[in-house]
Amino acid sequence: MDYIPHGAEDIRRMLEFIGISSPDKLYSDIPEKIRIRGYGIGKGVSEPEIKNILEEFSGSNASVKTLKSYIGAGAYEHFIPAVVDDICSKPEFYTAYTPYQAEASQGILQSIYEYQSMICELTGTDVSNASLYDGATAAAEAALMSIGKNSGGIVGISSAVNPVYRKVIETYLKSSPCSVSLVGHKEGITDIENIEKQVSGRMFSFIFQSPNFFGCIEDVKTVSDYVRGRGALSITVANPLSLGVLEAPGRNGADIVAGEGQPLGIPLCFGGPYLGFMGVKKELMRKLPGRIIGRTTDKDGKEGFVMTLQAREQHIRREKATSNICSNQALMALRAAVYMAYMGKEGMKEVGTLNICNSHYLADEIEKTGKAALKFKRPFFNEFVIEFRNNVEEVFRAFEKEGILPGIRLAEEGQNSILCCVTEAKSKSDMDKYVEVVKKL
């Protein structure tokens, strides 16, 4: 099949108007030598057939509906309000593009302005961009923002930062004159003494995560104070959903708060598309990567919205731009905006509360069995590391029988450790089943 509208007569008339006899007359610029005859990928199929084919692929995947999953580690199963799906499937939003022409794009522009506003409020920062690719690249962009383009130096990263994020930041920084110093955590959280010990020389910024990879909530204030005291930027990677109950990093001294917006109403979808968010202090505004939407007025003084501060961007600044980002994750930002509006002031608190209460319920019940214990005795949000007495392979087998995915293995943090995530999507009876399995180990 194809999506070509023309009938034979249309094509005939167009060719006639152009003054040629067949479409291939338009290819005279293309060397004969490189012309091909098909890719050998086979004939196209019809819509019903493509549906069947894709249903088959889909049917070969497990999902959080068919298995009870306690896996987090950077992507989270949360309740997605039906309103979010509904609004974001409006073609007026999803079949548009970047709002280059403001007057024809007020819907998207205003929605992003609102998104930016809520991200700033949530993170305690002054300026937010219109989105980045995902949490890991947002952290990497934050690191790039912090460094000078030409002078060497160091970006410190806590070892309690999601290892994938660390890897992405490293890849991004490889092209820069700077290098990365890993700072070992102490019993699950960042330790200032370790920064002192392990980072020497000029430190541009220090990146840490809260709640961090192990689920532990960091003392953002203490770390930021220290980092800023050393003349570096404090970059906090945050779980936005946790910020309904946890203090905004920006209010505790973080200069840049970046992270993964997926918990804000974005489906798991095997890892993407997700949403990189970033909020920064006013002073960093002109260094921000990506799009920024601003409020202004029209000819008649009526309020309206436009892309602004474009002088930072690639299409104007080219090689001198703050970043190369062009297409971003606007529709995911819309999802997050609708989610945040839906939850609102009280709902953000309540969903955060449910995550804390559920995860602590499960952690407590697991510990009560005596078969496993929390690895780090720290406050946590919705993830924690649990160390089993039994061999971890055996543990996984026991859960598998019950259709439960108990978490992911964390080999570095002890032979039989598992990183377990519990959100508001789990019910008491779900968790009790988990505990049953542990009891029987």
């Binding site: 338009l26 894709l54 199963e77 593009y97 022409q101 409020e121 999601n162 092209s175 939407i293 606007a330």
Partner: protein, 490 residues
């Protein structure tokens, strides 16, 4: 219907005590965060809007009605390939076995996804003539960055780092910007009189420090780089690599392949050529394809058969590492996969062919009024210049705004930079002759207005939800977020 509900910020609609959310009760009644977490870590306040579910729905229904979109409007935004986004692909994407799958599920439980991604790599390799593909990049620019990192790694491994990337002056802004991000110095070369890479200029700058030449083919004027084989030879002779910005692949579908032209690295924009929606600015997907010699450097993880199942291999010693959490914008890739499978060899060929036919038909039509600086057979798009209207005080932006009043989304303006007062038009193959004719008629009408009543254009748009917006003011006095405090004190 544009409604009153659609005006005003959502924050202005907030009323204390209203709520939309609906959540289950806590597992243990009466437990609060403070029971588990030290008070010092807890939040003091959060000024989010308070608004009912219906009011949220009305708010966004109102916003949607203020937005042009492919489903509602012809959208000939040059360089962006705003083609029709098939509804079937949106439906597919919502299947539970795609949507509700965690990326860290045990591999044996997600073989549907693994084999789909593997197949997709193969399809894209076949379509581009490359030897391997990485699906991770989230957009075209991300793909460029990856491509340039691969090139860097290639030279690092060989020894003999090179520090320059050449880009034509007609190139897209992301090209030099990505190259800079990858740590390169940028050398820009002038286009020749035909609007193409000037081989003379090229040979002047092509030295041993050049890592790669980045090209878009057809280029941003919509012209096929007819000396491409010669250029490839020049570049390769100098030991440099050839990079293909695939944003403009659409017209070449079924016709010829960058791999066969001599390109070593390619990125594609699935959100352009392969019909996935642009989503108001994203998400996109920018897979990168490479020739054999660059394969070892591709990011981890790589999909490989291991122990009878398809698994992710993280153990690739020469890999540049990771460039994104997880494995790409899977939800976008899914749609492009369905599109390619549905079209097949025949459908893809027709797609390319008609995108060229539509562009040339429209070029001929608009050429009756407008100046087209490089006016010859084009591929999928072409560029008008309205610099002659400057004497009437009319600029590309005025034409654009006047089009808004006709219900058509304006073409790209002021790009490529090498054309003064540029208007870059890409109709795509999914638009009918009727739509194209009506666009041409509107453009003719605007041209006449520019000559007879330029003030009218300067005042456009008048039919949109706002009149012309003050961008200067926005940049000078940035208002980039709502002030929650001010509201509370009101």
């Amino acid at each position: 219907m544009t409604t009153k509900e659609g005006t005003g910020l959502i924050f202005e609609k907030s009323v204390k005590g209203r709520k939309a959310f609906s959540l289950p009760a806590p597992v243990i009644k009466g437990k609060k965060p403070a029971d588990y977490i030290p008070a010092g870590l807890l939040r003091s306040s959060l000024e989010f809007p308070e608004i009912s579910e219906l009011d949220i729905v009305r708010h966004y229904t109102g916003l949607a009605s203020k937005n042009f979109s492919v489903d509602g409007n012809f959208y000939p935004l040059g360089s962006c390939t705003m083609k029709y986004n098939p509804k079937i692909n949106e439906q597919i994407c919502s299947y539970g076995g795609f949507r509700d799958v965690h990326p860290l599920f045990p591999r044996e439980k997600v073989q549907g996804y693994m084999s789909l991604l593997k197949k997709m790599e193969g399809l894209l390799s076949a379509i581009t003539g490359m030897d391997g593909f990485c699906l991770h990049p989230a957009a075209g620019a991300h793909g460029e960055l990856l491509g340039l990192m691969l090139i860097r790694a290639f030279y690092d491994k060989r020894g003999g780092r090179r520090r320059k990337i050449i880009v034509p002056d007609s190139s897209h802004g992301t090209n030099p910007s990505s190259a800079a991000m990858a740590g390169y110095d940028i050398v820009s070369i002038k286009s020749d009189r035909d609007g193409r890479v000037d081989t003379g200029e090229l040979s002047k700058v092509l030295d041993d420090e050049v890592a790669a030449l980045m090209m878009t083919n057809p280029n941003t004027l919509g012209l096929f780089e007819d000396k491409i084989l010669e250029i490839a030879e020049m570049v390769h002779k100098k030991g440099a690599l050839l990079y293909y910005d695939g944003a403009n692949l659409n017209p070449l579908l079924g016709l010829c392949r960058p791999g066969d032209m001599g390109f070593d690295v390619v990125h594609l924009n699935l959100h352009k050529t392969f019909s996935t929606p642009h989503g108001g600015g994203g998400p996109g997907s920018g897979p990168v394809g490479v020739k054999e010699k660059l394969k070892p450097f591709l990011p981890v993880p790589v999909i490989r058969e291991q122990g009878g199942i398809l698994d992710f291999d993280f153990n690739c010693p020469d890999s540049i590492g990771m460039i994104k959490a997880f494995w790409g914008n899977t939800g976008v890739i899914l749609k492009a996969f369905a599109y390619i499978m549905a079209l097949g060899d025949d459908g893809l060929k027709k797609t390319g062919e008609i995108s060229v036919l539509n562009a040339n038909y429209l070029r001929k039509k608009l050429g009756q009024f407008y100046d087209i600086p490089f006016n010859r057979t084009c591929m999928h798009e072409f560029v008008i210049s309205v610099k002659e209207l400057a004497s009437k005080g009319i600029h590309a932006i005025d034409i654009a705004k006047a089009l808004i009043d006709t219900g058509i989304h304006p073409p790209t303006v002021y790009f490529p930079l090498i054309v003064e007062e540029a208007i870059m038009v890409e109709p795509t193959e999914t638009e009918s002759k009727t739509t194209i004719d009506s666009f041409a008629d509107n453009m003719a009408g605007i041209y006449k207005k520019a000559e007879t009543d330029p003030e009218l254009l300067k005042n456009a748009p008048v039919n949109a939800s706002v009149k012309r917006l003050d961008e200067l003011k926005a940049a000078k006095f940035p208002d980039v977020k709502w002030d929650f405090k001010k509201r509370n004190s009101q």
